[in-house]
């Protein structure tokens, strides 16, 4: 039988994979995707908690919808900035974006 723990463990694993990706990947777009992964992990947590802790309410689901919306805007701004960099440097490898000391 699937319980709350399973969802939480799944989301924790997804979150960790996302975090690992952010820290280890070099391509800015992949980093952005890893961040999306982290956010989606959070969404799973929210929905799972909502379903098991307060089944009568939809707080978690509503929260998750807000997260999805905001994540989309964040990605939009992020991609715009990456485009701007690409135009200047022809490269989106973050280790090569190093005019400033990282």
């Amino acid at each position: 039988m699937l319980g709350l723990e399973h969802y939480l463990i799944l989301s924790a694993i997804l979150f960790s994979i996302g975090l690992y990706g952010v820290l280890s990947k070099r391509n800015a777009i992949i980093i952005l995707m890893c961040i999306e992964l982290m956010l989606n992990a959070v969404n799973i947590t929210l929905v799972a908690f909502s379903r098991y802790v307060v089944p009568a309410l939809l707080t978690g689901q509503v929260f998750a919808i807000f997260v999805i919306v905001v994540a989309a805007t964040e990605a939009a701004v992020g991609l715009a900035i990456i485009l701007a960099i690409y135009r200047g440097l022809e490269d989106i490898d973050v280790t090569k974006i190093n005019l400033l000391k990282w």
Binding site: A28, L39, V54, G78, V94
Partner: protein, 486 residues
């Protein structure tokens, strides 16, 4: 629900929209700044008028309209006012999109005002993102390689911080089943201490919240973005980031940690000590890393990390103090007010000087005492205030915030903090020395526009006023902190 209580925010939204539209219609770009400023003045006037009344929360308990929120709203509006004044000449650098620039500044301000007022985890997240996304775009506004790169770094790290913060919020929501801060506090208090102890979700949630907010206030170890972003961003935006974004972070920390996790005592003492630890490493690392810097914006970046450390001394005091004692809170509020004037003043002087020199290198500031005596004098005053020496505001702020810490047996923390001020004197005075003693490369005067001068004069007046007769602002801070008395 009373929409009248939402007028300041609505005014800002309206102004932002008007500015964008106006940008399409007019060639007279100065008009944009004037419209933005009038929007801010309207919002500010309404906010001031709302001060002191006990308004109910609005939007279904989502937003509080208490003195605490109003105090911060006035602060943010004031900062936005100074930022726009100091941008008037700077924006000429941007060929296009001046309207968007002002609109984004206004929207970021709106986000911060909401941050100070929200009492619900969902609303907190949205307010933070509204602020952050506006700022990501503003940081990249110069569109040169450095600025874009700074913007990307800020965005990537900021998004990670948001994700971490969200995860913390999700855990706390899961633990209590609530998203409203007061409801969370009630569910926590309803549980017996052993259950609380046994629950990793709550503790992990709090730690993740600290990490997420720590990013906003630029506390070590969540500070890696600071120097790069400060250096790359347009200078008025750097000023804005260093002051308002930090203040908003503290506003939200104060409210969340006090409202939701203020009770029971052992819990608040634990996060108090977390903040004490963060304070020590932030001050020390910020100050030490600032010493070798050669770029004034990076130097001020590290200095702002150290200042966050001093502010966290106040958070530590508030964590360990018993309920009903608001000295820690009012100390943080007063410190933020004085920090706003001081850092804005310093950055406005930097905008004026660097704008002429086209360089942010400290060595190029040589001889400013001769070339621009008033700018140099103002910058000196602000740097002295940052060291925390009288008669500037920084001293009173430190005295006030440290006195809260001493009262709660945090003398060790205060000693570390004051010794840190000594280290900081070393690098702040280096800038002063270069300005007044260095040989100028040229004798050419450094001109400054009327708008910049006005902004600078206002900041310096604030620094002196809060340094010499701080009583009035302390009273305001105290009234704002009253909401923390249950």
């Amino acid at each position: 629900m009373n929409l009248a209580l939402f007028i300041p925010e609505l005014a800002l939204v309206a102004t932002a929209v008007i500015v964008i539209l106006l940008d399409l219609l007019t060639e007279q770009k100065r008009l944009l700044a004037q419209v933005s400023i009038s929007g801010l003045v309207v919002a500010g006037g309404v906010t001031v008028a709302m001060w002191g009344h006990n308004f109910p929360t609005i939007f279904n308990n989502m937003l509080a309209v208490d003195n605490f929120a109003l105090f911060f709203k006035m602060l943010f509006l004031g900062v936005a006012f100074l930022v726009i004044l100091s941008s008037v000449d700077y924006v000429i650098k941007f060929a296009r999109f001046q309207g968007e620039y002002y609109a984004l500044v206004l929207l970021a301000t709106l986000g911060m005002m909401l941050m100070a007022a929200t009492t619900n985890l969902i609303a907190i997240y949205i307010a933070i993102e509204l602020t952050s996304i506006s700022l990501y775009a503003l940081v990249g506004f110069l569109k040169d390689a450095k600025s874009t790169e700074a913007s990307l770094k800020y965005l990537l790290l900021g998004a990670v911080a948001s994700a971490v913060l969200l995860y913390g919020m999700a855990l706390i929501f899961g633990f209590t089943g609530k998203t409203n801060l007061h409801d969370i506090a009630q569910s926590i208090q309803a549980l017996s201490p052993p259950t609380l102890f046994a629950s990793p979700a709550l503790i992990l949630g709090i730690v993740l919240l600290v990490a997420g907010f720590g990013f906003k206030i630029a506390a070590v170890p969540f500070q890696m973005w600071v120097p790069d972003v400060y250096e790359g961003a347009p200078t008025p935006i750097t000023a804005y980031l260093s002051v308002a974004s930090k203040a908003a972070g503290f506003a939200i920390i104060l409210r969340v940690f006090f409202s939701a996790f203020g009770q029971p005592d052992w819990l608040s003492q634990n996060w108090g000590l977390i903040f004490a630890g963060l304070a020590v490493i932030s001050m020390t690392l910020g100050n030490i890393m600032a010493i070798p810097q050669s770029n004034i914006k990076r130097l001020l970046g590290y200095s702002s990390i150290a200042q966050a450390g001093y502010l966290m001394v106040g958070l530590a005091a508030l964590g360990v103090s018993p309920v009903g004692d608001i000295l820690g809170q009012s100390g943080v509020l007063f410190f933020l007010a004085s920090y706003v004037f001081t850092n804005m003043g310093a950055f406005i002087a930097v905008i004026a000087i660097s704008g002429k020199l086209n360089s942010d290198l400290i060595d190029d500031y040589a001889g400013m005492g001769k070339r621009a005596p008033l700018l140099a004098l103002a910058l000196t005053l602000c740097l002295i205030s940052l060291i925390g020496m009288p008669p500037a505001a920084g001293f009173m702020a430190k005295f006030y915030i440290f006195s809260a810490a001493v009262q709660h047996d945090l003398l060790w923390l205060v000693v570390i903090a004051v010794l840190n001020s000594v280290i900081s004197a070393y690098y702040y005075l280096r800038v002063v020395k270069v300005m007044w003693l260095g040989q100028a490369a040229s004798q050419e005067k450094v001109p400054s526009s009327a708008a910049l001068r006005l902004a600078l004069v206002l900041s310096c007046l604030g620094v002196l006023l809060l340094g010499i007769i701080p009583g009035y602002m302390m009273r305001l801070a105290e009234l704002a902190a009253r909401i923390f008395i249950p």
